[in-house]
């Protein structure tokens, strides 16, 4: 019983975290700038290996719900929570199934 309620609470916290990432007044435009300056050093100068278009909105939500499990998370030092929310907003808002998908050519 106790374990179950902990699971539920954990799930709730997770859901809230995702919701706040998605719906807070995050700035997708700033996120684009931050993505370019902070992520692109690893993710290809031509941005060819990863862009908003690489995933669906649901996948970006899933990915950012568990940032610790992202392969390059250890390199995210210096990216504040606010910056991370902006980067998420950029990737999510221009995802391949979004209303304004990022263009690939």
């Amino acid at each position: 019983m106790k374990r179950r309620s902990i699971t539920i609470i954990a799930a709730l916290i997770l859901a809230l975290a995702v919701a706040s990432l998605a719906f807070a007044e995050a700035n997708a435009r700033k996120g684009k700038f931050l993505y370019r300056s902070k992520c692109r050093t690893c993710h290809g100068a031509a941005a060819s290996d990863l862009s908003p278009n690489s995933k669906t909105q649901a996948d970006w939500k899933k990915t950012f719900a568990k940032v610790e499990s992202i392969k390059c998370y250890k390199d995210w030092k210096g990216v504040s929570a606010e910056d991370r929310a902006d980067i998420f907003a950029y990737l999510h808002d221009y995802a391949k199934d979004s209303p304004s998908p990022a263009k690939c050519n």
Binding site: E25, N27, R29, K30, F33, L34, R36, S37, R40, A45, A46, A47, S48, T56, Q57, D93, Y94, K96, D97, P99, S100, P101, K103, C104, N105
Partner: protein, 678 residues
């Protein structure tokens, strides 16, 4: 002069371009060149061309100019842009660029400068169709007319408003026995050459499409396994259209029910090599996105996605983005000036009509500067006086163009651009139905004439003055190399052939792949619309009648094979084919009004008025009038069109698509009377 970008070979004799011929290697135009392509020579040697930078010295629009040097012009533009940024944030500058191979540099500059406010011609043209197909299929597929056996052309006059290769392919497939059905209130050349023509009541295309869906579903003319696997919301669609029978649609469209049912059956029998042609300009009604959704839905029922003769996904062109890291300015507002004005604005295109409204109001924040490159809203955006009102709110406006367009005529500073024959352009990808993508570029065949400079050079010079030089730290040759990084052989082939064909995946390669929609299927029922409180299935409402009895004619506009709006009407050769525009008026209606062939008529709407000659004809419905775009210019720099005919933008009211903000230019009713009549 045109967005099709047909491959050309220029004949140059003693430094003069004497003739243009089609490039036979450029298959997208099927080895042909239209009247406008041929007339490209006249654009190069047009005496109306801008020759030097010009500074306005009289009142705005008065036409008093002073020639200045490029150094002065760049210095002035840079300092005014700097002032506007300091006073109103960098989003206080608006950037608008037309369909041109260098327009991408304007967006790049805007981003480096720090403004989100970028518009193009698209929100006065094709965005509603794009919106509808993105929201249904997750992308904007390309019609494979060449292999189609049955095509419905609605809201598209493809044999006059030419698009390569579709226009040529339509003719070719009809010759081979395919059927083309045209719905148009006007007997266009497309209608004349088509297998059949139905003079549909304007604004009722959706009723026709929903009735096609009704027949296809009720008679089970669809592929049930495909519907189950690849679409979502089939049952909801079936329930939605259950009552929308051909008999119901006949009352709306004026097309006999028996014809509607027969067309539905024929269309389904030819599936998947059949289509409702998606069209290009969809800026017609306030519910244009929903109208085009009904087009998309019928295509989905035909199971024609990624099938020969159906709608095929745009193919990967393999062009590399030339990455850059523009700066971030913390004082900029959160979004575009037209953000959130409609539920589904395309973020990179916005809405010209709604941006204009925001500039006039000065809210949510002021825009005080405007950089315009080869687009002409003073001749293409509805209700010209509003565009003028917008311009009157500006502190600084600079226009880069080949001639003194109506928009340039209003500017503070006008900068001369070279023609396509005089420029080196970056690589661009073009799509041609099932044949997929091809890559093209342009090299100059003669040096830039007069003092003209390509917009790339202008932006580079401005960037240097504004401390943004690092974002334009390249030349076009270097830029092309980066774009073509994936293809080592492309540069040589482009030099030799003028076109490069990247590897083209076979049709059907998207089978089994998820669609880029929220449900990962073709959304017959749009969950996105449901979430936004929009109709998740297209709901038909009959077009609103004219609010005033004396304004009894719905105005529809379009272009001919010799006209690309204002960018070609002033051409010395083309003007011989289309010297002025006329008002197409039904002969019975004309009789009632006492109007005879060639009479000058006065036309009026709440937006404004105009005068032009009447073309009295049986080729248009009695409730509709038609005019060609691109005439009635106001610029003193356009010697062949100034004051000739009437301008569509003097008459069209400022309506817009309520979902995506595209302009809605078939919502205006006109009164028509003979000039001089009481």
């Amino acid at each position: 002069m045109c967005f099709n970008r047909c491959g050309l070979i220029a004949r140059v004799e003693q430094g003069i371009v004497t003739k243009l011929d089609p490039n036979p290697k450029f298959t997208k135009s099927r080895g042909m060149l239209c009247a406008r392509g041929n007339a490209g020579v006249a654009q190069v040697y047009d005496p109306d061309r801008l020759k030097t930078p010009m500074l306005r010295v009289g009142a705005r629009g008065e036409g008093k100019w002073k020639a200045i040097s490029w150094d002065e012009a760049i210095e002035l533009a840079a300092s005014r842009m700097k002032d506007i940024a300091a006073k109103h944030t960098r989003c206080g500058m608006l950037f608008s660029a037309g369909a041109d191979m260098q327009s991408g540099f304007v967006s790049r500059f805007a981003e480096a400068f720090g403004s989100f406010n970028v518009t193009s011609h698209e929100s006065l043209c094709l965005l509603s169709g794009n919106r509808a197909f993105v929201d249904t299929f997750g992308d904007v597929p390309v019609p494979d007319v060449k292999h189609s056996r049955y095509v419905i052309l609605a809201g598209a006059n493809r044999l006059e408003a030419l698009i390569t290769p579709d226009s040529m392919d339509l003719v070719a497939i009809m010759r081979d026995g395919a059927k083309v059905v045209v719905l148009d209130p006007r007997y266009t050349k497309s209608a004349a050459l088509a297998s059949e023509w139905h003079p549909i009541r304007p604004g009722t295309d959706m009723a026709f499409m929903l009735a096609l869906a009704n027949v296809i579903i009720s008679e089970k003319l669809y592929d049930a396994a495909y519907m189950a696997e690849r679409t979502s919301g089939f049952d909801k669609l079936a329930a939605h259209v259950a009552e929308m029978t051909p008999e119901w649609a006949e009352k709306q469209t004026g097309i006999p029910a028996a014809d509607i049912a027969r067309i539905a059956r024929e269309l389904a029998a030819a599936a998947p090599a059949s289509m409702v042609y998606p069209g290009r300009r969809s800026s017609d009604y306030e519910n244009a996105t929903q109208i085009r959704r009904s087009f998309a839905i019928v295509n989905a029922l035909l199971g024609n996605y990624d099938r020969p003769g159906g709608l095929v996904p745009a193919r990967p062109a393999g062009l590399k983005k030339v990455a850059f890291e523009p700066p971030w300015y913390d004082d900029t507002p959160p979004g575009r000036v037209d953000a959130k004005s409609v539920p589904l604005l395309f973020d990179d295109e916005g809405s010209f009509v709604l941006t204009r409204e925001a500039v006039i109001k000065g809210a949510p924040y002021p825009i005080k500067g405007w950089f315009v490159y080869k687009t002409n809203p003073m001749a293409t955006a509805p209700e010209r006086r509003k565009t003028r009102e917008m311009i009157d709110k500006l502190d600084f406006m600079v226009v880069v163009d080949i001639t003194m367009s109506d928009t340039a005529w209003m500017a503070d500073l006008v900068l001369p651009a070279p023609s396509a024959m005089e420029r080196q352009d970056p690589v661009q990808a073009l799509q041609a139905g099932a044949e997929g993508a091809c890559l093209v570029w342009r090299d100059p065949v003669i040096p830039a004439m007069y003092e003209s400079r390509p917009v790339f050079d202008i932006l580079k010079a401005l960037a240097g003055k504004l401390g943004l030089g690092e974002f334009f730290d390249f030349d076009i040759a270097g830029y092309r190399k980066q774009q073509l990084a994936a293809f080592s052989e492309a540069e040589e082939i482009l030099k030799r052939d003028g076109v490069f064909y990247p590897p083209n995946p076979p049709l059907g390669s998207t089978d089994g792949q998820p669609f880029k929609t929220p449900s990962q299927k073709i959304e017959l029922f749009s969950t996105r619309y449901a979430d936004l409180g929009l109709d998740p299935l297209p709901v038909y409402t009959p077009p609103k009648p004219s609010p005033e009895a004396n304004r009894r004619f719905r105005l529809v506009v379009g272009r001919s094979a010799c006209v690309t709006q204002g960018s070609s009407t002033n051409n010395a050769l083309l003007t011989e084919f289309e010297p002025e525009n006329t008002l197409w008026l039904n002969e019975e209606a004309a009789k009632e009004l006492g109007i005879r062939q060639g009479d000058v008529v006065q036309v009026e709407s709440p937006a404004g008025k105009g005068e032009l000659k009447a073309l009295v004809t049986p080729k248009i419905r009695k409730d509709t009038v038609y005019m060609l775009s691109g005439f009635g210019s106001i610029s003193g720099g356009l010697s062949r069109t100034k004051g000739v005919g009437a301008s569509i933008v003097e008459l069209i009211e400022s309506r817009f698509d309520t979902i995506c903000g595209n302009s809605a230019i078939h919502e205006t009713f006109l009164s028509v009377r003979k000039k001089g009549a009481a």
